[in-house]
């Protein structure tokens, strides 16, 4: 398979910088997969699972949320707010976050807070599903 340059960064670190043959990720509009030769694209990243295949054929799974990605002339840049590889996710922390968000959701009546809590809950659930599905 043809490779392209893939850079995955978050504000606090460089997650991946190298050649890859495929990246699937969830955008705000739905799941997409990017192979070499993809048309130039910009998309906002939603909350979901991301899978990319590196040059040597290793498949890496991660949970991604927020930020955006650009494709320009066979360079794919993923600028995520959070991007955690499956093996780095702390399952217990994610489950605690889920419980906290659910508890807060059942109590609050404030609309803005409810929105934030729903996003938190979605993130926690996403992390959990990435860890469990990744095994």
């Amino acid at each position: 398979m043809k490779n392209y340059r893939l850079q995955i960064v978050t504000p606090d670190r460089v997650v991946f910088d190298g050649n890859a043959s495929s990246l699937s990720i969830r955008t705000t509009e739905g799941n997409i997969q990017i192979l070499a030769g993809h048309v130039d694209l910009i998309a906002a990243i939603g909350i979901g699972k991301a899978v990319f295949v590196t040059e040597d054929g290793t498949v890496k799974t991660a949970s991604a949320a927020g930020g955006f990605l650009t494709v320009t002339k066979d360079t794919v840049r993923v600028l995520a707010t959070t991007f955690e590889l499956a093996e780095e996710i702390d399952l217990r922390r994610a489950e605690e976050a889920q419980a906290r968000a659910e508890a807060a959701l059942s109590q609050t009546s404030d609309e803005a807070e409810e929105k934030i809590m729903k996003i938190r809950l979605a993130r926690a659930l996403n992390r959990i599903s990435v860890v469990k599905g990744g095994k």
Binding site: Q7, V9, T10, P11, D12, R13, V14, T27, T28, E29, G30, I32, V39, D40, L41, I42, A43, A44, G66, G67, F68, T70, V71, T72, K73, R77, L79, T81, T82
Partner: protein, 282 residues
């Protein structure tokens, strides 16, 4: 009299010595913090470079949709986001940032400030500046999510027209020895000159919607990377300042011990002279 001056010198030596112990300890702490802060700043520097590359394709993709964020507007206030340290004893670090901010300030009634770092907050409170929020005053504890929240808050005010320009004043971390106070216009976003990289990106969905999702993350990323740089600069400044202070203190101790020895010698000489002349008188 000589004995009294000997005691004075001894007391000064003791006080300089204990000051030196403090400055040395602070230097060590700053050095170890600096190492971590530097790594953080370097990682987010990569992020910022890629972010700025991505902005080029972002702006090419829809100039019309992006114009809300790039066009100069009149009427509202100018917001200054000032990044200083939480603590002093960092040489000219805090002072330089505040001086640079004063140079770029517009008329008082048209400006408002978000201070990051306790020193900046204290300074602008004392000066009676209009402070938009002091929720982010402790700079050493700010993380990615705080930066994102701050970006959203700033953007809300920008889009509502309350604020029409956002300036960031921070200290750029060049190396362990060099830090440079700098400013950057956050909003309206200035596009790089050479935007023609031949790409013409597409997107699913509505361009306005996309920018609404992407711009806060872009700003948040910029803010976070500025915060990490500022913090690394603070540690570097403190280390340099404390290193100089320790050096000065040890020089002072050297010259004080020289005068102490001289005074001691003078006392001995005087005593011998007194004894000898006393013996001769017999």
């Amino acid at each position: 009299m000589a004995a009294a001056s000997m005691n004075d010198i001894k007391a000064r030596m003791r006080s300089v010595n204990s000051t030196m112990q403090i400055t040395k300890a602070m230097e060590l702490v700053a050095t170890s913090k600096l190492r971590r802060a530097k790594e953080r700043a370097e990682a987010s520097c990569v992020y910022r470079r890629i972010l700025q590359d991505a902005l080029v394709s972002l702006s090419r993709f829809s100039e019309r949709a992006a114009s809300v964020y790039t066009e100069k507007r009149q009427g509202g206030k100018t917001l200054y986001v000032v990044l200083a340290g939480d603590r002093g004893l960092a040489g000219g670090y805090n002072g330089n940032v505040i001086r640079l901010t004063r140079e770029v300030f517009c008329a008082k009634e048209n400006r408002t400030v978000i201070p990051l770092g306790k020193k900046a907050l204290e300074f602008y409170e004392r000066r009676g500046e209009e402070i938009l929020t002091s929720a982010y005053s402790q700079i050493s504890s700010l993380g990615v999510s705080d930066a994102m929240r701050l970006a959203r808050e700033i953007l809300d005010r920008y889009l509502s027209g309350e604020v029409t320009r956002v300036e960031l004043v921070y200290t750029r971390f060049v190396s362990m020895m060099t830090v440079v106070p700098s400013r950057m216009t956050l909003l309206p976003i200035t596009l790089p000159e050479e935007t023609d990289d031949g790409s013409d990106p597409i997107t699913d969905g509505d361009p306005d919607e996309l920018l609404r999702a992407v711009i806060p993350d872009y700003l948040g990323g910029l803010l976070y990377s500025a915060i990490t740089e500022a913090f690394a600069s603070e540690c570097a400044s403190r280390r340099t300042a404390m290193n100089a202070a320790s050096k000065n203190a040890s020089e002072m101790i050297d010259s004080l011990s020289l005068s102490y020895n001289r005074a001691r010698q003078a006392v001995i000489t005087q005593e011998i002279t007194e004894i000898v002349s006393g013996a001769e008188a017999l």
